[in-house]
């Protein structure tokens, strides 16, 4: 029943000329100065597919998204949409950022209508329609500063939808929301995606989010795709279901292994001291480079107990490392 509806919507969308874009990326290379972020990345997404990309911060997933959005220039390789060059269909791509990026000096409805051509009445009607789709029709005349984080992201979603994009890029748009709002937004995004049948590419840190939304999960590591797994679960998916949890833990495990294989930003060492406290405990690790003290939530310690003398890896996020001059 669900599948039938979905197919119907897609047929409708294709007939009205607003179906998804097929994305073809080949040999994509991106440097920022000396640093190479993408190393010849290949990716093919059929029209209308929902793809989630997971990976550690700094792995190049956001960079890929920005290239697809046309926000940065390519250093090498090619991006094709529906078999044509990116630039010819660039205006059918819209991006949602981690922050809503609403204009604070425009009302909610003016933000939604941003950059939409047409007569005043036409634009207003479409903006109202888009706002109604995200459930914020009654907040049209408010300033964005009056909205909650989740509501702002809804407005940003309406702003993207109003252009009837054929490819929607989602750069961790739910990263800053609380757990409940997140799940609500995931449902909304899924529902709107099924309705409009655009191609969607979601970058996320949250494996559960990827499993909940995507047809296919990709893992990018060191600027390449190292894991590509279809998600065969029926929609709508429930977080509690056994097959959901099984897939989630498989992807997580894979993510962890890849992290462990990554030689950057990690130190191998041995646990020399564990100081248990109520909330946050401290684990002291002796490494060849010196002593590393890690703050670990006590709940995590009771779930995965550590013993003195265990060999461990101390892994740092590259964007959490702070450099100060030696004096």
């Amino acid at each position: 029943m669900q599948v039938d509806n979905l197919e119907l919507a897609q047929v409708e969308a294709v007939q009205s000329g607003s179906g998804g874009l097929a994305v073809e990326v080949s040999g994509l290379v991106k440097h920022f100065g000396e640093r190479q972020v993408l190393h010849g990345l290949d990716l093919s997404i059929p029209a209308g597919e929902f793809v989630a990309i997971v990976g550690r911060s700094g792995c190049g997933k956001s960079t890929l998204l920005r290239q697809l959005a046309g926000l940065d220039t390519l250093s090498g390789g090619a991006i094709g949409f529906d078999g044509k060059a990116r630039d010819t269909l660039g205006d059918q791509v819209r991006i949602m950022y981690q922050e809503a990026r609403l204009l604070p000096w425009r009302t909610v409805i003016q933000n939604v209508a941003l950059g939409l051509p047409g007569s005043r009445a036409q634009v207003r009607a479409r903006a109202e329609e888009a706002l109604a789709q995200v459930g914020l029709a009654d907040r049209a005349e408010e300033w964005p500063s009056r909205l909650s984080g989740g509501q702002r992201q809804r407005v940003a979603l309406a702003r993207a939808l109003i252009h009837r994009p054929r490819l929607l890029l989602l750069d961790e748009p739910l990263g800053a929301l609380d757990a409940l709002t997140r799940i609500e937004m995931q449902r909304l995004i899924e529902q709107i995606w099924r309705q409009h049948a655009f191609t969607a590419l979601l970058v996320t840190h949250d494996v559960a989010e990827a499993v909940a939304l995507a047809d296919r999960i990709l893992l990018i590591e060191e600027g390449r795709i190292t894991f590509d797994e279809p998600v065969g679960l029926p929609r709508p998916r429930e977080h509690g279901e056994a097959c959901f949890a099984a897939l989630e833990s498989r992807v997580l495990k894979r993510l962890m292994t890849v992290e462990a294989l990554n030689p950057r930003n990690q130190l191998r060492g041995r646990v020399t001291e564990i100081i248990i406290d109520k909330v946050l405990s401290e684990v002291v690790v002796m490494t060849p480079a010196g002593v590393v003290s890690a703050a670990v939530p006590t709940s995590a310690l009771s779930e995965f107990p550590l013993e003195l003398g265990t060999d461990v890896l101390a892994v740092f996020k590259s964007n959490d490392v702070v450099l100060a001059t030696a004096d």
Partner: protein, 262 residues
């Protein structure tokens, strides 16, 4: 909805800023009455009020205020307008910045009052000299804040605007100009304050009318009450300009919680 007590409390809150000025006035008046303060040094407040009343009745006061305010606003319009246009240009276009900014920054460090001898040589002691001094003083406050405002618009918003199909004038109108407005208005407010300072000095050079002329004249005749009246008028006009600037901020920046009274 508000109880009488709450209304009273609100009224008291509104009066609170005026307690100290009124107390000073009362002490001042009393010291004059008891002869602790010579009228040669400081006339009593009542005398100042009387002088103002007489001058207002004769119509002389209004002429002076009109001339002074006209001068100040004309200078502000010229200097502020130029500052705004050049600030927008240097803020928006790197090439214009490279071409102009260094020069402007050098000129900025000249105190406008240091130019007085030169200005008198160039323009004489007429209206043009006064307008030039005021425009010059006002220009930089508006210029620098406009430039800074344009440059500090959130690049994330500009990127968003571009990716939503905005460019050229629409991008300017929707994103860049409103983003810079808060900073531009800070410049305007500062310029309005500075405008009166320059005006006072300019009017003491030589003038045939204006508040400055009125006070200089009164000094000749040892009319301390009129001198004081002139000073108070400057203070009042300065406050008025500031209130006007704040109303503009309220109106144009009402999206920003910090400027929103309600």
């Amino acid at each position: 909805m508000t109880s009488p007590i709450a209304a009273l409390r609100n009224g008291a809150k509104g009066l609170l800023p005026w307690v100290v000025p009124i107390a000073i006035l009362v002490v001042w008046e009393l010291s004059a009455i008891f002869g602790w303060l010579s009228t040669r040094i400081l006339p009593e407040p009542l005398a100042v009020l009387k002088a103002g009343w007489t001058l207002a009745l004769s119509g002389e006061l209004w002429t002076h205020i009109r001339v002074s305010a006209g001068r100040a606003l004309a200078g502000f319009a010229i200097g502020g307008g130029l500052g705004l246009v050049l600030g927008l240009l240097t803020g928006s276009f790197r090439k214009v910045e490279v071409a102009l900014d260094t020069t402007l920054q050098m000129i900025r460090n000249i105190p406008p009052l240091a130019l007085i001898p030169l200005v008198i040589l160039w323009f004489g002691i007429d209206e043009v000299a006064k307008l030039f001094l005021i425009s010059f003083g006002v220009f930089f406050a508006v210029y620098i804040n406009t430039f800074h405002g344009i440059r500090s618009v959130d690049p994330a918003l500009i990127e968003m605007g571009r990716s939503y199909g905005l460019s050229g004038w629409p991008l300017y109108r929707e994103v860049i100009l409103p983003g810079a407005l808060a900073s531009i208005l800070v410049g305007v407010r500062y310029a309005l304050g500075f405008m009166w300072v320059i005006l006072i000095v300019a009017e003491t050079i030589s003038a045939q009318a204006g508040i400055g002329y009125m006070t200089m004249n009164a000094r000749e005749f040892l009319q301390t009450d009129v001198v004081l009246l002139g000073i108070l008028l400057y203070a009042l006009l300065g406050k008025l300009a500031d209130v006007a600037a704040r109303l503009l901020e309220r109106r144009w920046l009402r999206w920003n919680g910090a400027y929103n009274a309600a």
